[in-house]
């Protein structure tokens, strides 16, 4: 079942055409409109109480104009037509040709062939009592998992985002995107030691997901398990050593080390360390990396991107060689490439930029158990809390819990450490890739230039021959 699109703007083709004409009145090359209506609901539980619920409405219109490489952007959440025309004129200020450009004669409504939102009970339609029940179930499972768990927080957030994209080439396309996540935080105590655990799940799915795929109880117990395990964890080791990344959550490694620096804008501007490496080897032949916005139900998926392009699974690295970039319309046009459907924006107040969706390293052939067995002394990175990269390729990711590897076996649990490396060096040190491709929690977001968008990432068990681990021992 799919969600019926709701139009909250009530613009006819003539209205849209008038706005586009205003945007192009100074001779811009191209203009598009992004009409967004979003409802966001949340429930928060702590100290055994449903403490608060919230409902947020975001309604607005963004207008973009191109003139060569330049972008003009205006937005408004006041839908009085004169205010909209003023926003269009603000965007038009980027261009300064004498003549005006004519928009396409007629708007042609397109529909995406993709079906990426598998659901029966749309989260935003779900009744509040039922949703509160899910939160209470996660909370109770977390609290009762272990006597050391002293504090629990659980919450459910869902949203529906209706977008319509209209452009001066005549495109008119809409998308109704559901999103939900159920999360749980545990704080465990033992003497003076206090530790934190987190888990969650969801995606662009219906509420039935929490009955059929991932139960609230599993989410609650997993948060508790991590917090309790950390109570007995020792400080992480410090220095350079072999590192094994656990399957799933370690996808943040690929997100930081590769994904960001193959976003087309950084390559067009030659600021990314990868800009001159298309077709060149940057990693071992075990490394193949994709970004796929079309995986049904995933947080990072969409039927059309925020410029109206139908996305496609895009290969970035093939057996260690750079083969592709994540393109939005602007970079694709300026680079003479085809948009890959990775033009995304946080909301109507932002113009689109190239972004990741669901990024992963393809499964290899190694047995995960053999990978661990191959390390005499090293670090096993198990749970992650995010990372960061800069254009030079230096990247970090933060491990919240892990294990020492001693003589091919996981031994003592260890806590927080940041790992750092340079991507062109680390990709060449990927020595083994497991057959166990797994995706991380369906709760993450990625920030770039102040814009947050939902993403996921995935990876199998991976061995990096040497990497700097920032522990304290």
């Amino acid at each position: 079942m799919s969600i019926v699109f709701e139009d909250h703007f009530h613009f006819g083709p003539d209205d849209l055409r008038r706005i586009l004409d205003a945007a192009l009145q100074t001779g811009g090359d191209f203009a598009d409109l992004f009409l967004e209506y979003r409802v966001y609901n949340s429930i928060h539980m702590e100290e055994d109480l449903i403490k608060e619920t919230s409902e947020s409405i975001s309604l607005g219109l963004g207008i973009r104009v191109w003139s060569g490489e330049k972008t003009g952007y205006g937005f408004t959440n006041d839908l009085a037509f004169d205010k909209i025309l003023r926003a269009a004129r603000s965007a038009a200020a980027i261009a300064s040709s004498e003549g005006t450009t004519a928009a396409a004669a007629g708007l042609i409504r397109a529909t995406s062939p993709l079906s990426v939102y598998p659901l029966r009970e749309a989260p935003h339609r779900g009744d509040l009592t039922g949703k509160i029940g899910l939160v209470k179930d996660a909370y109770a499972a977390c609290q009762s998992h272990h006597p050391a768990v002293k504090k629990v927080k659980a919450g459910l957030q869902d949203q529906i985002q209706y977008v319509t994209i209209v452009n001066s080439e005549g495109l008119l396309v809409s998308d109704a995107r559901p999103l939900v996540k159920l999360t749980c935080v545990a704080i465990a105590e033992k003497g003076a030691v206090r530790e934190y655990g987190y888990s969650g799940g969801g995606g662009r799915v219906g509420l039935e997901y929490f009955a059929e795929n991932l139960s609230p109880a599993v989410i609650g117990r997993e948060a508790a398990r991590e917090a309790v395990q950390l109570l007995d964890a020792r400080d992480a080791p410090a220095g350079e050593m072999p590192v094994v990344l656990s399957p799933g959550h370690a996808g943040v490694f690929i997100h930081e080390a590769v994904g960001h620096l193959l976003e087309a804008d950084f390559n067009r501007k030659k600021t990314s360390v990868f800009w001159n490496k298309m077709g060149r080897r940057v990693g071992t032949s075990l490394v193949s990396i994709y970004d796929d916005p079309t995986i049904p139900g995933f947080r990072g998926s969409y039927a059309v991107d925020d410029e109206g392009t139908v996305p496609s699974k895009t290969q970035l690295i093939e057996k260690g060689v750079v083969v592709g970039l994540l393109q939005d319309r602007l970079s694709a046009r300026l680079m003479g490439k085809t948009p890959t459907g990775h033009g995304r924006r946080q909301d109507y107040t932002d113009y689109p930029i190239p972004r990741m969706a669901n990024t992963f390293i393809a499964a290899g052939e190694d047995d995960p158990a053999e990978i661990i067995k191959s390390v005499r002394k090293g670090f096993y990175a198990d749970q992650f809390s995010g990372g960061q990269v800069e254009d030079s390729g230096k990247f970090t990711f933060s491990v919240t819990s892990g294990f020492l590897i001693e003589e091919g076996r996981l031994t003592a649990p260890v806590k927080q450490a940041t790992l750092i490396g340079s991507n062109v060096e680390i990709l060449k040190r990927v020595e083994m890739v497991g057959s166990d491709l797994t995706f991380g929690l369906q709760t993450g977001s990625c920030g770039k230039e102040g814009q947050d968008v939902p993403v996921t990432d995935g990876c199998p068990t991976i061995k990096i021959s040497r990497m700097t681990v920032g522990g304290r021992e």
């Binding site: 409405i57 959440n77 006041d78 700097t468 304290r472």
Partner: protein, 448 residues
């Protein structure tokens, strides 16, 4: 720009919505409204890249009924939408649990005069687009004129002016206007396979307080090129000197640990430590919402309580947590006027400066690391643990020797606060969380 007439319109809308909430069944209701105008330009490699101009309005509502709380917000200010949101919130509140600590604050009888805070600079809304574009151009041009700079992420100018209005069923009605402008540039130096990058910026309430394109460009260039040709270093423990932006990062982490919300939730290693020594006597930390012309200043917080000055840590002793009304009630304390939306936020939160200059602090290190940038998010308020990617300059015999990169720095905030050996004099209010240079006795560096 929002004229006084515009303010009156927002004020009367806020009052109307409070009355609507009361007649719809809310015991208490708080309505915040904002109306703002923004302009932004990015210039890159001598050309305008992006130009953004927009106006936007937003509403936030809190409702309490029978001790149960519901929030709502909207960027759609149509009356039907707002009335529906408020009715929904009253209905939703019934499904939450009763919480004896929930509710609006008691009104203060000592409001702050917003005019004395000097938060509105008429020069900001009067800036012409041409002028702002020219300032960004000029900043990037000066930076690129240095031959060591090989690429640019661009220079940006942005400005904002807005009006905030708050009305509550406890009788509060307040409003103030605030301006903001910023100029920044971000650069790269070195070849593609040996890139280094950094930036510099200035952001202020008043246009006249903004640093010049010359100062911003020269500082960004110096900060970038000093990192060229870094070395990797061995894993070791050494003294670490934090530059002001780096100390500010540590202070931001301290804020998240003394926020009343984290404390009552037991999500901070500093929970239950009021009155205890948490640092040595060089550590004095203050939150001050009353400093004129600063980014973290305002006459009242998001619950309508007047801003104030709060000594958080005095000579190493933890004196106060920063609280909104809810966290304060949970902890048996009084609000410090730090309500920010549904949580707690800093006003101007800073580390009291000492006397030595940054040069004197660096000069005091026989061997050590000058920390200049970090990468990643390895901060854990529950344990106080710190582990971040780091870039720095190696110090030998009191002088900068060479840049280092691809290292991590790790420690624990509790230990760090006890091991601060020197606090510099170079405090500047560049944001709402600020601190001078400090020297920490010893921290773990991971490298080769």
């Amino acid at each position: 720009m929002s004229s006084p007439a515009g303010n009156r319109e927002l004020l009367s809308l806020a009052e109307r919505l409070v009355r609507f909430g009361q007649t719809s069944g809310a015991d208490e209701i708080e309505v915040g409204l904002g109306d703002g105008t923004e302009f932004g330009v990015d210039v890159r490699m001598g050309e305008v890249e992006n130009l953004v101009e927009a106006g936007s309005r937003a509403l936030g509502v809190r409702i309490i009924k029978d001790g149960k709380t519901a929030f709502a917000s909207s960027s759609d200010l149509e009356p039907e939408t707002l009335e529906r949101l408020i009715r929904n919130a009253v209905r939703r509140a019934e499904l939450a649990n009763r919480d004896e600590f929930a509710g609006l604050p008691e009104l203060s009888d000592r409001p702050v005069d917003s005019a004395s805070l000097d938060l509105f600079d008429p020069a900001v809304p009067a800036l012409e687009a041409k002028r702002m574009i020219a300032l960004a151009h000029e900043t990037e041009r000066i930076a690129l004129s240095d031959k060591r700079i090989t690429n640019s992420h661009g220079a940006s100018f942005s400005s904002h002016e807005g009006c905030s209005v708050l009305a509550s069923s406890n009788g509060f009605l307040g409003e103030y206007r605030k301006t903001y402008c910023s100029l920044s540039v971000s650069l790269q130096a070195g070849d593609t396979d040996d890139l280094v990058e950094d930036f510099w910026y200035s952001s202020r309430i008043h246009f006249a307080d903004l640093e010049s394109p010359e100062v911003i460009a020269r500082t960004a260039v110096a900060r970038t090129v000093r990192q060229l040709h870094p070395r990797k270093i061995k894993t070791q423990r050494v003294p670490v000197v934090f530059e002001p932006l780096m100390t500010s990062g540590i202070l931001g982490f301290l804020f998240s640990c003394i926020s009343g919300t984290a404390v009552y939730q037991q999500a901070s290693f500093l929970a239950g430590r009021l009155g205890e020594r948490i640092g040595n006597d060089r550590v004095t930390v203050i939150d001050d919402g009353l400093l004129p012309r600063l980014l973290g200043t305002g006459p009242f917080d998001s619950e309508g309580l007047p801003s104030r000055r709060t000594v958080v840590v005095e000579k190493g002793v933890l004196l106060n947590y920063l609280c909104n009304t809810y966290a304060a009630r949970k902890l048996g304390l009084r609000s410090t006027g730090n309500a920010d939306g549904s949580g707690v936020g800093p006003n101007n939160f800073y580390l009291q400066p000492g006397t030595p200059s940054a040069e004197e602090i660096i000069g005091s290190c026989e061997k050590g690391l000058l920390l200049i940038r970090t990468l990643g998010h390895g901060l854990n308020p529950v344990s106080g643990d710190i582990s971040r990617g780091a870039f720095g300059l190696w110090i030998e015999n009191g002088e900068i020797a060479y840049p280092v990169s691809e290292i991590t720095i790790s420690g624990n905030l509790g230990e760090l606060l006890k091991n601060i050996e020197m606090v510099g004099s170079d405090l500047e209010f560049r944001g709402s969380i600020c601190a001078p240079t400090i020297k920490v006795a010893e921290m773990q560096i991971s490298g080769l």
